[in-house]
C-alpha cells in the first residue's frame, strides 16, 4: 500500500474510533445511568488529523471535551471506558473521568476543566522536549472559547520567545458553551498570534487530510527549531456543550444541517475511496472500531467499583524530601 494510502487508512481508523467510541458511550451510558459528558461528535477530523501526524512519544493535552483527544492519541479504549464508568480499573483508577483522564504511556497527558489552562502545561512539555533535544513536540488542543483566557496568551508568548516545539490546535466549533465565537472573540483567531511571529493558519476542520497536512508541517517546524504554530480548525459540534444541552435554543436547524452535510467521517470515507482504498477495507476499519468500542463498554459494565481505600491512596507520592 502506498504511503499516502496508509495515511488515509490511519486517518480513517482514528476517525472511526473517535466516532464509534462516543456512539457506544452514549448507548451504554444513557442505559446505565452514567455520565456522557461533552461529546466530540462532528469534530473528529481535528483530533484524528493532528494525532495521525504525531509520533507516539509526542505529548498531547486536551480540554474538558476530551474523549476525542484521548481516543485519537491512542488511549486504551477498555481502560478509558472503565474510567468513564468510574471504575477502579480505569486509566486513572476512576478518579479523573472525562476531563482529567491521562495515559502518559501513549503521550496523552490529560485534559482540564479550565479551557485554556493546559496550553501552559503543554508549553512546559515542549520546553522539556527542547531541553532534552528530543525529536518530540507538545500539542495543546483548545476550543474557540479558550482563546480569550489570558494564560493562553502568556504561554504562547513564552513559546514564541523561546521557540518551543508547541502546536496549539484551536477546535473552533463556533460556540463556547452557548456563546457564539462571533460575539465573544475580537478579530480572527488565526490572526491573533501571528504578530508574535507564530505561524498561524486556518484549516477546514471537517477534512482530516487538511488538518493532517497542517499538523505535519507544524511538527516539522517545531522539531526544526522554528517554534510554535497555531492551527485554527473550523468545525462544529453536533451535540450541545454537554450531552443533553438544549442546543437548539442557540443554534438554528439550518445551521446544524449545513454542518451535518459535511460530516468528517463521511468526507474522509469519500476521500479515501478516491485515493484508491476499497470499500471493503474501509468497512473493515469501521467495523473493528465499532466492535472494540462495544467490547470496551461491555467490559466497563463489569469493572470493579471504587472502594474507600481507593479514595485516600496516592495524594502524595510517599517520597518525602529527606536524604
Amino acid at each position: 500500500m502506498p504511503a499516502d494510502q496508509q495515511i488515509m487508512l490511519d486517518l480513517y481508523r482514528r476517525l472511526c474510533r473517535c466516532r464509534e467510541f462516543e456512539s457506544a458511550l452514549i448507548r451504554y451510558a444513557t442505559k446505565d445511568g452514567k455520565p456522557v459528558g461533552h461529546p466530540y461528535f462532528g469534530q473528529e477530523a481535528v483530533a484524528a488529523g493532528v494525532c495521525t501526524a504525531l509520533r507516539p512519544a509526542d505529548r498531547v493535552v486536551g480540554t474538558h471535551r476530551a474523549h476525542g483527544y484521548a481516543v485519537a492519541k491512542g488511549c486504551d479504549l477498555e481502560r478509558l471506558a472503565l474510567e468513564l464508568y468510574g471504575s477502579a480499573e480505569g486509566t486513572c483508577r476512576g478518579r479523573a473521568g472525562e476531563m482529567y483522564v491521562a495515559e502518559t504511556d501513549v503521550g496523552y497527558f490529560g485534559g482540564t476543566q479550565i479551557v485554556g489552562g493546559n496550553v501552559a502545561m503543554a508549553a512546559g512539555l515542549a520546553l522539556a522536549a527542547q531541553l532534552g533535544q528530543l525529536d518530540r513536540v507538545a500539542v495543546s488542543f483548545i476550543g474557540d472559547g479558550a482563546v480569550n483566557q489570558g494564560v493562553v496568551d502568556e504561554a504562547l508568548n513564552m513559546a514564541a520567545i523561546w521557540s518551543l516545539p508547541l502546536i496549539v490546535v484551536v477546535d473552533n466549533n463556533g460556540y463556547a458553551q452557548t456563546t457564539s465565537v462571533r460575539y465573544a472573540t475580537a478579530g480572527l483567531i488565526a490572526e491573533r498570534w501571528a504578530p508574535y511571529g507564530i505561524t498561524s493558519l486556518t484549516v477546514d476542520g471537517q477534512r482530516a487530510t487538511q488538518v493532517y497536512d497542517a499538523a505535519q508541517s507544524a511538527r516539522a517546524r517545531a522539531v526544526g527549531g522554528q517554534g510554535p504554530t497555531v492551527i485554527e480548525a473550523l468545525t462544529y459540534r453536533y451535540e450541545g456543550h454537554y450531552y443533553g444541552d438544549r442546543h437548539r435554543r442557540y443554534r438554528s436547524q439550518e445551521e446544524v444541517d449545513s454542518w451535518l452535510a459535511r460530516d468528517p467521517v463521511e468526507l474522509h470515507h469519500q476521500a479515501a475511496l478516491e485515493a484508491g482504498l476499497t470499500e471493503a477495507a474501509l468497512d473493515q476499519v469501521r467495523a473493528a472500531a465499532s466492535a472494540d468500542s462495544e467490547a470496551a463498554f461491555e467490559r466497563a459494565r463489569g469493572g470493579r467499583a471504587v472502594a474507600p481505600p481507593d479514595l485516600l491512596e496516592g495524594v502524595f507520592t510517599g517520597r518525602p524530601g529527606e536524604d
Binding site: 505529548r59 486509566t91 486513572c92 483508577r93 478518579r95 479523573a96 482529567y100 491521562a102 495515559e103 502518559t104 504511556d105 497527558f109 490529560g110 482540564t112 476543566q113 479550565i114 489552562g117 493546559n118 496550553v119 501552559a120 502545561m121 503543554a122 508549553a123 512546559g124 512539555l125 515542549a126 520546553l127 522539556a128 522536549a129 531541553l131 507538545a138 489570558g150 494564560v151 502568556e154 504561554a155 508568548n157 513564552m158 520567545i161 496516592g314 495524594v315 502524595f316 507520592t317 517520597r319 518525602p320 524530601g321 529527606e322 536524604d323
Partner: protein
C-alpha cells in the same frame, strides 16, 4: 557550621541542589536579570528578589536559569509541564500577593495531577514566595507548604522542598531575610511534616509559624522572667502539618497559643486549634487559641513600619495572650 544570613542559607540550598541534580530548572521574573543580552555583556543583572538566585546563571547557564516574562500563570503551568516530563522546576513567585495569578495552575494542575492521574504524573515542583498569606495554599490537599523560621530551617526546608517528589510551596519572609544563624555547610534536608521544639517549657505551648517563631521566642523569654516557662514549637511544615508533634507538646503543657501572621478567618491558626482541641481534649487546661493580625485587608504592612507594628502581633501581645491563657 558557618554563620549565614537567612537569604544566604536559602540560596546555598538551591545552588547545592542544582549542582547535584541537573533536572532542576529555575523559572521566574528576573531570576538572573537582564535576560537575552549576553552579547552586550549584560548577564546576571539582578539575581531575583533579594539576590537569592544571584550567580546561578553564570554557573548553570540560561537553559537552567530562565528569566520569564511577567506571566505567573503561564510559567507556573510551564513548571507543571516540565515536572510531568521528569524535571524539577524551582519557581519564583516573588510575593504572596502574586500567587493568586498562578492559582489555577498551582491548585488544579500542580496539586491535583498526581492524585487524579493515579500516579502517572508527578509534580516535583518547588514554588518559592515571600509573604504571610500561606493559609489559602494550605487548603489544597496535594500541596506541601513550609515556612522556615531561621537560616538553618531556610536551608534544610529548601533542600527538602527541591528533593521532594511532591509539590512544595516555600513561604519565605522578608522580615527574616537578614536574620543570622549557624548553618551546616554541607547539604541537608529537614523532614517535611515535622515540627520542632525550639524551647522546652511546661506552662503552655507557643506555636510559631515562620517569622512568628522568633516573636514566640522573645515572648517566652519574657514569660520565663514572669515565672511562666513556655514551650516554643516551630511548625515548619504548614501543610500537612505535624498534628502528632503539636499534640504531644500540648499534652505536656495543657495550653496552646498559636501565633499566626496570616488573616484570621479560615486560617491555619483556627485549623490547628480545632484539631488540637479534639486531639488533646482530656489534657487541656484552657481552650486552645490563636493570635493573628486584625481582619483588615492588608498583608504585612511592610510599606509602613508604623502600621506594621500595629498590625502584627508582637512579643508583648503574645505575652499578654499567654498570661490570660494561664490565668
Amino acid at each position: 557550621m558557618t554563620a549565614m544570613k537567612y537569604w544566604q542559607a536559602a540560596a546555598d540550598a538551591l545552588r547545592q541542589e542544582m549542582r547535584r541534580d541537573p533536572s532542576i530548572i529555575v523559572l521566574g521574573e528576573d531570576v538572573a536579570g537582564g535576560a537575552g543580552r549576553a552579547a552586550e555583556g549584560i548577564i546576571d543583572a539582578w539575581g531575583g528578589p533579594f539576590g537569592i538566585t544571584r550567580g546561578l546563571i553564570k554557573e548553570f547557564g540560561p537553559a537552567r536559569v530562565r528569566d520569564t516574562p511577567i506571566s505567573e500563570a503561564g510559567f507556573t503551568g510551564i513548571a507543571a509541564g516540565l515536572a510531568a516530563d521528569g524535571y524539577r522546576p524551582w519557581v519564583d513567585i516573588m510575593f504572596t500577593e502574586l500567587l493568586p495569578l498562578a492559582w489555577e495552575q498551582l491548585t488544579n494542575k500542580i496539586a491535583r495531577s498526581h492524585y487524579l492521574s493515579a500516579g502517572q504524573l508527578r509534580m516535583p515542583v518547588t514554588i518559592k514566595t515571600f509573604g504571610d498569606c500561606y493559609s489559602p495554599a494550605c487548603h489544597y490537599p496535594g500541596l506541601i507548604c513550609v515556612a522556615p523560621s531561621d537560616p538553618y530551617s531556610a536551608k534544610g526546608l529548601m533542600t527538602a522542598a527541591i528533593r521532594s517528589d511532591d509539590p512544595v510551596v516555600v513561604f519565605d519572609n522578608l522580615r527574616l531575610l537578614r536574620h543570622q544563624g549557624e548553618v551546616p555547610e554541607e547539604a541537608y534536608a529537614l523532614p517535611l511534616g515535622q515540627a520542632r521544639v525550639v524551647r522546652p517549657g511546661s506552662a503552655l505551648t507557643l506555636l510559631g509559624i515562620g517569622p512568628s517563631t522568633s516573636v514566640c521566642l522573645a515572648a517566652a523569654a519574657d514569660l520565663a522572667d514572669a515565672g511562666l516557662p513556655a514551650e516554643v514549637v516551630d511548625l515548619l511544615t504548614l501543610s500537612p502539618w505535624d498534628v502528632a508533634g503539636v499534640t504531644e507538646s500540648v499534652r505536656r503543657t495543657g495550653r496552646l497559643l498559636v501565633v499566626d501572621f496570616d488573616h484570621p478567618e479560615c486560617g491555619l491558626g483556627a485549623t490547628i486549634c480545632a484539631r488540637i482541641t479534639e486531639a488533646a481534649w482530656d489534657a487541656l487546661q484552657a481552650p486552645p487559641t490563636f493570635l493573628t493580625p486584625p481582619p483588615v485587608p492588608a498583608m504585612g504592612m511592610d510599606a509602613n513600619p508604623a502600621m506594621a507594628a500595629m498590625y502584627l502581633p508582637d512579643a508583648g501581645a503574645v505575652v499578654a495572650a499567654a498570661a490570660k491563657l494561664c490565668g
